[in-house]
């Protein structure tokens, strides 16, 4: 595995955070449609959730299968608080409701995390799974709090508005989410630069040794879990405000699995990986699911390939290529990249045609055997369609493999050159 550290130059840091704020501020002016408006809001929420999850997975080595418990319970408490404002029982401004969600998430993390963080590794993962199932089962039992099948709905235009901001229009709620996203990302980055944040990395790397330098690893995991619970709750509270409805599904294991999957896809080894993951999560859930019924299958396949071939996620791919680029060697391999991309596309087209035919047979057989895939008419029971699709896929596979071999030799040559260059610079 390639390894290197991300060196924070102070000027660079200001530029990066400035750009981040700029992107958050300008995004709704660039993407103006209704759909993109709701997607941007959801991306902010997902970014906070994935980053808080990565505090456990990437920074603490804690594989949690139940992170949605904390985002979800945060969302429920926030929406009950919102209804209390509407009913005139509470005078908390609507803009602070995400913090209410955060405190709720933190409170539940204090309570449940005490049990889960007693263990690490596989037992930890098992216990989080158990807790997630427990909370989901409870959501079906206590319909007063969880709202049963209908969930709890609310109206975010509540209480007194400040400067005419009611959070009614989508754009206003977007900017509220954007502010929370910026502050939460900054705070979570700051956490990685503190003593607890660093010892958390040490606990991930070698828990046994940490015990012999004076730290109680259980305590370290517990504190990190509570902090992650807070940010998860903030994300849940923002979700409650954004959708104005919270259903039991938000504490479900499916949601927890989503956080795990997209945090990993984005890249758990770098701080910014889960930001990519959060964006991908919304793209997949909103766009890909519109595009094809088999979207979960494609997602699963993508996840599989990432785990096998790029366990550092997209972030690590970016960082590896940045390293190559910083030594001015990217132009040696860009041809291979184009080749890999094109042949992968060919494989995808062939495979997707077959997947779509199978789905058509299973779900839409009443409509006949004919379907259109990317403008090409296919017959789901026709030999020629199947032959054509598998021919496309196998051709793609063959070419991909050829280019991949070429690429691997080029890649390792470049790595050797870079190592030499580094040695040379060290000696100079």
């Amino acid at each position: 595995m390639a390894t290197y550290t991300f060196k924070p130059y102070n000027v660079g840091r200001w530029i990066i955070w400035g750009l981040f704020a700029l992107v958050l501020g300008l995004a709704p002016l660039v993407f103006t449609s209704n759909l993109s408006g709701t997607m941007l809001a959801q991306m902010g929420i997902a970014i906070i959730a994935c980053l808080s999850y990565n505090m456990l997975l990437g920074q603490g080595g804690m594989l949690s299968f139940g992170h949605a418990v904390y985002t979800g319970l945060g969302a429920f408490v926030a929406i009950h608080a919102l209804n209390a404002i509407t009913a005139g029982q509470s005078s908390v401004p609507v803009s602070l409701l995400p913090l209410v969600g955060g405190l709720a998430g933190m409170g539940f993390a204090v309570l449940l995390g005490f049990v889960t963080t007693k263990k690490s590794g596989t037992p930890f993962a098992m216990i989080t799974l158990g807790v997630a199932e427990l909370v989901f089962a409870m959501s079906l039992m206590f319909s007063d709090f969880f709202g049963g099948e209908a969930g709890i709905s609310a109206n975010r235009v509540a209480g007194t508005s400040v400067w005419g901001i009611t959070f009614g229009p989508q754009i206003q709620i977007y900017y509220l989410i954007a502010c929370y996203t910026f502050v939460c990302v900054a705070l979570m980055y700051a956490f990685t630069q503190t003593p607890l944040g660093r010892i958390l990395n040490a606990v991930r790397d070698n828990p046994e040794r940490v015990e012999f330098i004076g730290y109680n690893t259980q305590r370290v995991r517990y504190f990190a879990f509570i902090i992650a619970g807070f940010f998860a709750g903030v994300s849940g509270g923002l979700g409650a405000l954004n959708f104005e409805i919270v259903t039991a599904e938000v504490v479900g294991t499916g949601r927890s699995g989503g956080y795990l999957l997209f945090t990993f896809l984005g890249g758990a080894t770098f701080f910014f990986g889960p930001i990519i993951g959060g964006i991908l999560m919304v793209l997949a859930f909103v766009l890909l699911s519109e595009f094809t019924k088999a979207w979960l299958l494609y997602l699963g396949l993508l996840f599989l390939f990432m785990v096998m071939y790029a366990p550092g996620g997209i972030a690590s791919l970016i960082m590896m290529n940045l390293r190559v680029a910083s030594f001015g060697k990217l132009r040696q391999i860009w041809v291979s990249y184009v080749g890999l991309l094109l042949t992968a596309l060919v494989i995808l087209i062939g495979a997707a045609a077959m997947v779509e035919m199978v789905y058509h047979l299973q779900l839409n057989s009443a409509l006949g055997d004919n379907l259109k895939f990317m403008g090409v008419p296919l017959n789901a029971k026709g030999l020629d369609s199947w032959f054509g699709a598998s021919f496309v896929m196998l051709t793609g596979l063959g070419m991909f493999e050829l280019i991949r071999r070429q690429f691997l030799t080029e890649w390792s040559d470049i790595q050797i050159e870079i190592e030499k260059e580094i040695k040379r610079r060290e000696e100079a």
Binding site: T3, T5, K7, A190, F191, Q193, T194, P195, L196, G197, R198, I199, N201, A202, R204, D205, N206, E208, R209, V210, E211, F212, I213, G214, Y215, N216, R219, V220, F223, I227
Partner: protein, 260 residues
Amino acid sequence: MTYALELKDLRKNFGKTEIIRGVNLAVLAGERVAIIGPNGAGKSTLFNLISGRFGPTSGQIFLNGKRIDHKEPYEINRMGLSRSFQITNIFPKLSVFENLRCAVLWSLGYKYTFLKFLSGLKDANDLAEKYMDMIRLDKKRDILAMNLTYAEQRALEIGITIAGGANVILLDEPTAGMSKSETTRFISLIKNVTHGKTLLTVEHDMGVVFGLADKIAVVVYGEVIAFDSPEAVRSNPKVQEAYLGTPSSESAIHGLEGGH
């Protein structure tokens, strides 16, 4: 009088097997003690008992007069005892500097804080730099620990052990797997960084033992059969018989004297 480290009738069984069978040992502050003995004699187990990795079956351990048996490793470490490991035990995905900084944090009182930036902790950073110079890894400051050479990793292992400022140091075969020339350099390094501290070390290399130790404890079958100055231990017939096989084992005695 209080000893830096005192073991009283320490016993440890794994199932029905007795590994440590009533060890008594009293180490004065500032003494350098080498623990020698054949393979499987229980030297490493002894270290694991003292450092809290395992709890003893019976018996007592005192650190500067305070009971430490049945305490957790981190509690024992906070009371001033630190150990290294026979198999390198560092933080592989952190840089050399970060490894050492983690090791100094608790002793400087930063505990679990997340309200301070590491870059602002001048004392912790200076101390980590100081230890990095001491173990001569200052040129490898930002290299990840997993990318160091074996000898460098061993040095970092010692660095992490001493960085917390403990006054009783346990080194479990610090020179294991090193070449002759590396060992020689490493011994002077250990002498240097443990100056003024109480040192216990498990060691196989007789050259190292005689170069480093004020006193030698010989452990055989879970018992300390001799604890004395190197000269006295060498001429002790019990040691010669138990540890070296037979009293007339010429080559083995030669081995002992060769290290002189």
